[in-house]
């Protein structure tokens, strides 16, 4: 009897920390250890400005990570986010550039007001998200294949509009404001504030809304979710649109920061977004992970790459480092969870 109640208590969520919280705490522990090592061996690492930069220099990956994390929890990939960033950036510039102002075709745009240009660019981003959703939710095509295709499509359109280069002339002054404005007296840009707001919103969505909990159910068992009355297709469509919208916002902020629409912007960001989600403990096997974990993962990646730069390793190390770190993280998380179960 006693054993039985103990067993019951062990299986209920209330008395015990959920696996997600456990893993997030585990990764925070890893972060603290890595941070300590970095402070000890990397010169100039333990400076207030540097520690602030660890978070503020990564706002774009964290924003992307939100959409990618939710999709990964449902067991789907979104590799098109990098392409969508390039596309929205280029489109917002193209819509904003003055019409018929120059002989150079790359300097002529549509001459729309900034607000309208942004809205249209975001709409196009969601169009890419809609294509993803149609193929994945309706035609049941594996998400990795579809989103790799739309990645090429989005970046390809950006390349066509910029003729393989970039557009950066005849832009109104208002274009460069959003991405460069900082909070008074600090170096924190408005983009970072947007990132914090979005992460908080995502956290509330994940923990406190029905829709957020459905995401986990779909990932754990899509068939069971369907049978219990969840419209899986509609929910996936919603998540793909959100992911594309977040990528679109990132694209517009980046274009504004550099005052240019570059077709090769955000090359490989889809991989970084995936890496930070995995570092945060999201499992592709389904129904597991959290936005907070992703945030911790992003800071871990930032500590590692900043240390590599601080130790004067060549930039070519980045790819290898990311690969090794992800690999170790996946194995360590699995080991920690197995130990906890056993």
């Amino acid at each position: 009897m006693n054993v039985e109640t103990k067993q019951v208590r062990k299986n209920t969520v209330g008395g015990r920390m959920s696996n997600e919280s456990f893993l997030t705490l585990f990764m925070i522990g890893v972060l603290v250890v890595l941070f300590g090592i970095a402070c000890a061996i990397v010169p100039n690492f333990f400076l207030p400005q540097n520690m602030l930069n660890l978070i503020t220099n990564n706002w774009f990956i964290i924003i992307l990570g939100i959409g990618v994390t939710f999709l990964l929890i449902t067991g789907n990939f979104d590799m098109s986010v990098g392409g969508v960033i390039a596309l929205t950036g280029v489109l917002s510039v193209y819509f904003c550039q003055g019409a018929n102002v120059s002989q150079n075709a790359l300097a002529n745009g549509l001459g729309l007001p900034y607000g309208l240009a942004i809205a249209l660019a975001l709409l196009c981003a969601m169009g890419i998200g809609a294509i993803n959703a149609f193929f994945i939710a309706r035609l049941k095509v594996p998400s990795i294949i579809v989103t790799l295709g739309t990645m090429m499509l989005a970046r390809g359109i950006a390349q066509v509009i910029t003729r393989g280069a970039q557009r950066n002339t005849s832009l109104p002054d208002v274009f460069g404001v959003v991405g460069n404005i900082a909070i008074q007296g600090t170096s924190i840009k408005i983009s970072v504030v947007i990132m914090v707001v979005l992460v908080s919103a995502a956290f509330i969505f994940e923990r406190m809304t029905v829709s957020g909990r459905r995401t986990y159910l779909i990932g754990a068992n899509a068939e069971a979710a369907r049978l219990s009355g969840i419209t899986v297709g509609r929910h996936l469509t919603f998540l793909y649109l959100i992911s594309a919208l977040l990528a679109g916002i990132t694209g517009i902020l980046l274009a504004s920061e550099f005052k240019a629409g570059v077709s090769s912007r955000a090359m490989g960001y889809e991989f970084d977004a995936l890496v930070v989600s995995l570092l945060g403990g999201v499992s592709i096997a389904g129904g597991f992970g959290s936005v907070l974990g992703m945030f911790v993962g992003a800071v871990i990646l930032s500590v590692v790459t900043t240390s590599a730069t601080g130790l004067l390793l060549s930039p070519d190390w980045q790819f290898t480092l990311k690969g090794i770190v992800t690999f170790i993280a996946i194995l360590a998380q699995r080991f920690a969870l197995d130990r906890r179960k056993g």
């Binding site: 990939f77 790799l148 992800t326």
Partner: protein, 347 residues
């Protein structure tokens, strides 16, 4: 009564006939697509300016050039098909190919003869395939994630091997790349084709036989169709999957060596996007996404379609249209594949 019976019979016949037509479409559509694309490009380009002085799309010179540039994907996509039939995927083939090209070029630059360099690169390639197999089959990491991680790893190593300030392994003031590096992929052996092309043909022939006639092909299809059932019927799935990853790694070496020899340098980014080309070729060839059925021979036709589209488009429209064109071909392949495969499942 009699009339009704006859009607039913004719209905039956009609259904059967439509099924037969559909099966035939499924069997032969890929050849039509290839023929159509070749015809379009040869007609569309009649009045165009000559491309690199090679003339018409179907002139011997441009056909030879097309086939020469198609060597890496032809070498690789057969093995890739086998892997996809078994329900797995390897996204790291592109960067594995680049890494092989870089290592091979580095050894040739440092005075290795052709064969030892090839053998060492082959060992490296098999090790890379085995690493993928280890991650996916033994450690049970999802194939997409595991091979994305190794993609990053291989690419990083290839970039690290190339010295700072250079974009590729190539001859410099102190060291000169021996001119015979070109012999493998450029020197005319027979009918204007180099050694690499005949190696690719042999590889294709072997893989077609492996897929159709040997136990490995049957096992791959069984694994892709239903992994649990395959396991229960006594197939060592882990070993087979591992073997398939190693085979892909092996052929990534041949592709990488062909590319390095063709360009006479080792470019760490030369294989970028190769995994996408392979996926497109496999999907065009009618292999099911989730595995279980497919054909190596048709994948090769799919690979030729991609090469025709990319080289053909290059002469008609500016180069910055390439990415959009490839993305569209991929989505087109997905739709086509969906229509044909789904019909079959329903019927």
């Amino acid at each position: 009564m009699n009339v009704k019976g006859a009607k039913e019979e004719s209905l039956q016949m009609r259904i059967e006939r439509s099924q037969a037509v559909r099966a035939n479409i499924k069997r032969f559509y890929i050849y039509f697509v290839l023929a159509l694309i070749v015809i379009i490009f040869s007609v569309a380009k009649l009045g165009q300016v000559e491309m690199f002085g090679r003339g018409h799309f179907l002139s011997p010179a441009s056909v030879i050039n097309l086939l020469r540039t198609a060597v890496p994907i032809m070498t690789l996509s057969g093995a890739f098909t086998l892997l996809m039939i078994s329900g797995y995927i390897d996204l790291s083939v592109g960067s594995a190919m680049s890494l092989n090209a870089v290592v091979f070029a580095l050894m040739i630059l440092n005075g290795f003869p052709f064969l030892p360099a090839l053998v060492i690169t082959l060992i490296l390639g098999i090790a890379m395939g085995a690493l993928n197999g280890l991650l996916v089959m033994k450690l049970r990491i999802t194939p997409v994630i595991a091979t994305l991680v190794t993609l990053s790893l291989f690419k990083g190593i290839a970039l690290l091997i190339v010295p700072d300030g250079l974009s590729a392994i190539k001859g410099s003031a102190e060291k000169v790349m021996p001119p015979w590096i070109n012999d493998y992929a450029r020197k005319n052996v027979l009918l204007g084709m180099p050694w690499a092309f005949f190696v690719a043909l042999a590889v294709i022939a072997i893989l077609v036989i492996v897929q159709r006639k040997t136990i490995l092909g049957k096992y791959a299809a069984a694994m892709g169709g239903n992994r649990t059932a395959a396991e229960l019927s006594g197939i060592n799935v882990v070993k087979m999957g591992w073997l398939l990853y190693i085979i892909v790694g092996f052929f990534a070496v041949l592709a990488g060596v062909a590319r390095a020899s063709y360009m006479s340098l080792g470019d760490p980014l030369s294989g970028d996007g190769m995994e996408l080309d392979n996926i497109i070729a496999v999907l065009l060839g009618g292999t099911a996404f989730s595995g279980g059925e497919g054909s190596v021979a048709k994948t090769i036709i799919g690979a030729l379609i991609i090469m025709c589209v990319t080289t053909g488009l290059m002469t008609v429209i500016p180069a910055y249209w390439q990415t959009v064109a490839k993305g569209s071909v991929l989505l087109f392949a997905v739709v086509l594949n969906h229509l044909l495969i789904r019909e079959k499942v329903k019927a």
